[in-house]
């Protein structure tokens, strides 16, 4: 499975001239950008600006129309690549959690470990328990997703992704579907991850998180990157007019 050879010196994510159309609708227009290893990059922008599409092109849940995407030096957009092996190394967390409702929490965390990584059941369970501990839900391993709050479900989803030992993590608005009082728990888990040096790309509306945890902030609008840089600089002193008008609405 792992005939993928990682280039140790390449950036975690490297996107070159990425274009994406849905039919005639151009959603991404020549995106160039990269995420360095061990950094947290936050992506903000108005609804429909293409943030999710960009994120989903990185593990090819969405098929780029043209351009190249590299993850740790491996070309994702190469048609011959073992996509499943590559995806197993990229954790993804969704706005709607997408836990498997027919499986218990523990099975949610072990199913891909045993079926994709071919880990022994014992080992998978051990890894799962360690990650449940990490997200503060060790006692819920026998629960089913429907019996958990949104915040708990999202933390389980993070633990599920972590159980594959990913090299990097993609988050698509992980707290947008949560009641406000539950947002903090999830952000807390993400902060811990960041401080452990996990490479993360986070589409978010949480400006506080971006400022505090992010190493880089990217502002997208209309399928292009309008402005990017140090989060404190972009948020505090935006250079582009579109950034200024967006921030004046959300801050």
């Amino acid at each position: 499975m792992s005939q993928i050879t990682v280039d140790e010196n390449a950036p975690a994510i490297d996107v070159q001239q990425l274009h994406k159309y849905f039919g005639d609708n151009q959603v991404l227009t020549g995106i160039d950008f990269h995420v360095d290893r061990g950094t947290v990059v936050c992506v903000i922008g108005p609804s429909g600006s293409g943030k999710s599409t960009l994120l989903r092109c990185i593990n090819r849940l969405e098929e780029p129309t043209s351009g190249k995407v590299f993850v740790e030096g491996v070309e994702v957009t190469d048609p011959d690549i073992d996509l499943d092996a590559l995806r197993a190394r990229i954790g993804m967390v969704f706005q709607q959690f997408n836990l498997f409702p027919h499986l218990s929490v523990l099975d949610n965390l072990t199913v891909a470990q045993t079926k994709v990584k071919k880990r022994k059941k014992d080992e998978a369970v051990e890894v799962a328990r360690r990650n449940l501990e990490k997200v503060g839900l060790a006692e819920r391993e026998d629960s089913y997703p429907a019996h958990l709050s949104g915040g708990q479900q999202q933390r389980i989803a993070i633990a599920r992704a972590l159980s594959m030992d990913p090299d990097l993590m993609l988050f698509d608005e992980p707290t947008s579907a949560l009641d406000p009082e539950l947002v903090g728990d999830v952000l807390g888990v993400m902060k811990d991850l960041a401080s452990e040096g996990m490479t993360m790309m986070v589409v978010t509306h949480e400006m506080g998180f971006a400022r505090e945890v992010g190493h880089k902030l990217v502002f997208m609008d209309g399928g292009v990157i309008v402005e990017e840089g140090d989060p404190r600089t972009v948020l505090g002193d935006p250079q582009e007019e579109r950034t200024q008008s967006f921030l004046s609405k959300v801050l």
């Binding site: 849940l61 499943d84 590559l86 995806r87 969704f94 498997f100 891909a112 079926k115 994709v116």
Partner: protein, 264 residues
């Protein structure tokens, strides 16, 4: 005289009950109960039906139905996956099959199958004798209906489930087998059980084909009894046996639907 809507509803309900009561009483008075009982539940004939009614007829009905259901379910799943396939010819084959077997009366399928196969493949027979033939013939019809049910179930599983599975590195087949299909079957358990009820009744078509006594199912058993005794009691007993199977299944379906409603 002005009536409140509530009052008016009560009056109209009362009138409905009264009419219903009159009809029931009229039927009860007009019917010839003595002869009815002689014809439908004859005390002399009834005991003679046992134990064969259960040990042969009911047993065979359950066997045929179960065989056809399992065969139909497996074939239906394959057809559903073919209908959802990105490969054109798979879709066309499945669609043709489904339209054909849903559009033709089961009775004709049965006759065509039973008499057509030996002509098409002389000297060969399906394994399993009557059971094998019935399983396949009835299963083909059941599969066409179940395929559509299963397809709807698969499509009802949110797209995010596949995306989550794929993002964890599962292949599309793996995601289908471990994530989508188990959820689809939970969704379609009630309609599938209804399908089982329909199949139970359709198994009566077996009476069309020549059988030895040990292969009799309920309807055949009842009709033979009808000829033998020139009395409807055997057929009526067979009908009660069908209810013995179908009513509990209906109750199960209603329970499942109620539970699904509550979960929503």
């Amino acid at each position: 005289m002005a009536m409140s809507p509530r009052k008016r509803a009560q009056v109209s309900r009362g009138i409905q009950y009264a009419v219903l009561g009159v009809v029931v009483v009229a039927i009860a008075l007009a019917a010839d109960w003595g002869t009815l009982q002689q014809t439908f539940l004859n005390g002399e004939i009834l005991p003679e039906l046992f134990p064969d009614l259960f040990t042969v007829a009911l047993k065979n009905t359950i066997y045929y139905t179960a065989g056809a259901f399992v065969f139909g379910l497996v074939l239906g799943l394959v057809l559903a996956l073919m209908r959802l396939s990105s490969v054109g010819p798979y879709r066309w084959i499945a669609t043709t099959f489904i339209e054909f077997f849903r559009g033709v009366p089961a009775l004709i399928v049965f006759i065509g199958f039973y008499y057509g196969l030996p002509v098409a493949f002389p000297g060969r027979a399906l394994p399993g004798g009557t059971f094998g033939t019935v399983t396949v013939a009835l299963g083909l019809v059941g599969a066409a209906y179940m395929a559509e049910t299963i397809r709807a179930g698969i499509q009802a599983v949110p797209k995010g489930q596949v995306e989550a599975a794929r993002s964890l590195g599962m292949s599309s087949t793996r995601a289908m087998v471990t994530i989508v299909i188990p959820q689809a079957f939970r969704i379609i358990l009630p309609p599938l059980t209804n399908e089982l009820i329909l199949l139970t009744k359709d198994s009566s078509l077996v009476y069309l084909i020549g059988l030895s006594f040990s292969d009799y199912e309920l309807t055949k058993f009842g009709r033979e009894g009808l000829n033998q005794y020139t009395n409807l009691t055997p057929l009526f007993a067979a009908a009660l046996c069908y209810l013995l199977i179908t009513v509990p299944l209906s109750v199960v379906v209603r329970r499942m639907e109620a539970r699904a409603d509550r979960a929503r």
